[in-house]
Amino acid sequence: MYFSLLAIIYIIASATFIIGLKMLSHPDTARKGNLVAAAGMGIAIFGTIFLYEDINTGERLGNYVWIFAGLMVGGIIGTGVAKKVKMTAMPEMVSLFNGMGGACAALISIAEFNHFGHSNFAQHIIQSFPGEEAVDVASFSLPVQTGTMITIFLGLIIGSVSFAGSIIAWGKLNGKIKDWSFKGQHIVNLFVLAFIIGISIYLISTISSSFEVNNGQVINTADKISINGLIVRLNTSVHVLFYAVFFLSLVYGILFVFPIGGADMPVVISLLNSFTGVAAACGGFLYDNKVMLTGGILVGAAGTLLTILMCKAMNRSLANVLIGSFGGSANALAAGSKEVGQHKEITLTDAAVVMGYANKVMIVPGYGLAVAQAQHACHDLEKLLQERGVEVKYAIHPVAGRMPGHMNVLLAEADVNYEKLQEMEVANEEFPSTDVVLILGANDVVNPAAKTDTSSPIYGMPILDVELAKTVIVNKRSMKPGYAGIENDLFYRPKTSMLFGDAKKVLQDLVSEIKNL
């Protein structure tokens, strides 16, 4: 009765996940969709706590104190952190939470593996050999379901990779960890991966004959053993190898994300997000739990598609990202050194005049805007220009910032009107009729090398054609190359003027200058 009620709850929860995701994909219903999915998650969690019964034994769950303590700790920390985090730090927050999910999946696999190693098996044996007084230890093997073992290992591997990778991605996004790679890293990565898979396959295929049977003392040498009071354990070597898989998976996660540059970070986070989805689905297999399965696979599939969409936007192949290298950084340096030209600077006053008397201004925001927390200052400038009769719009590149939609969220925080944000294709059509393009901390997304320089690592990535406009003003902190580490020709073009400084400071100064016009 309880259990069938739980089944209904799970069905409802699965439906809310699908409906929630569906609603999340429309601007009008998005917020409600999130709440719908959250409500579904809530009933699934509490339903599990109070109604879950073991299929074989019919036992209910215990340890309520521990469970609720865990929920409280996680809930309070999670809410606190999520409420406090700045909008600019959103991508790394998502990455961190994703890592937590991955770690959770890995821990479940470890716990379940040990579960199989201990008491559960003893019970299996007693059921498997009814009425027998003794078992032949030499030919002893257990009916372990290969599928179950596979899901335990998959959950462990994918969860650990996702955890380690997400932590690295988090560290990279907030600047704590720098890019790092060594020669032949692909090969090392592939070796690590091959080791992980090799050990897993070996363990899965030999597990049913890897047991030690004893009744208090280790007696592997004995031929026969009494069934009653018997203790069955997995061999120590199996345990060692199992933890080796765990450890290697963490190493792989780290190696996998470490060398990847900022331009690929959104892709990596999205990919790790879908990994965790698959890891969660493995848990669903393991417990025959449909709601975990539905939620996990849903996210796995959606995340994978999102990853592919992002790769397309940046014209990078997923395979390249997976092997773990930001290709062609050597080429980039070469390309940079041959293009040393002169850039010209513009004073604040001149910039204010140019913008104040323009008909149409397009603002191209980038990560620099996010770092400087300049979204409000940016909105002030926009309002001021608007009051002076200047048409102001924002041109949003799909991968501007550190995540797709990062700029949209950021500008939304500053109350920038939704309709003012133009997607790349629309914006590119508008540039020819634009007087001034103001680039705020964006670099790679406006780099003409993506169109012209076949040796550039970002070659082929669609960019914002800011050069079609009459003037381009670039705000940057210095002439240093952007996140992808590539020189930008745009800065040396005759139409372009540089306006150095922190985006927020510059925008505030621009606002006061324009007021004085």
Binding site: L61, G74, A105, G147, V291, M403, D415
Partner: protein, 104 residues
């Protein structure tokens, strides 16, 4: 090999679910405007927090003297809750902004 085939046959239901869910996931995401990519990723991130159910089961089934399982389960419950609660709250905060601005 035979083992795997039997396992597939015994778990057809689950395999059907996986197959259909893959298509559902792809269909839903396919029509998302890029404006919503970040909130959507964050929302999906919260949904895979459903893994916490596994953590609760590990925790709830652990014998009171099985400290290994208790500690693992406890950690897993905390991490899973972080994923779920943090994920939904962050998503809500992002979407809140979209909404307030739309009203104006």
């Amino acid at each position: 090999m035979n083992n795997i085939f039997t396992w597939i046959a015994a778990n057809q239901q689950i395999i059907y679910i996986v197959m259909l869910m893959i298509f559902v996931g792809i269909e839903i995401i396919g029509r998302v405007p890029s404006v919503l990519h970040t909130p959507l990723m964050s929302g999906a991130n919260a949904i895979h927090g459903v893994v916490i159910i596994g953590a609760i089961i590990v925790m709830g089934q652990a014998k009171s003297n099985d400290y290994f399982a208790l500690i693992l389960g406890f950690l897993a419950v905390i991490l899973g809750t972080l994923n779920v609660v943090g994920g939904f709250v962050v998503t809500d905060r992002m979407l809140e902004m979209f909404k307030s601005k739309k009203k104006k």
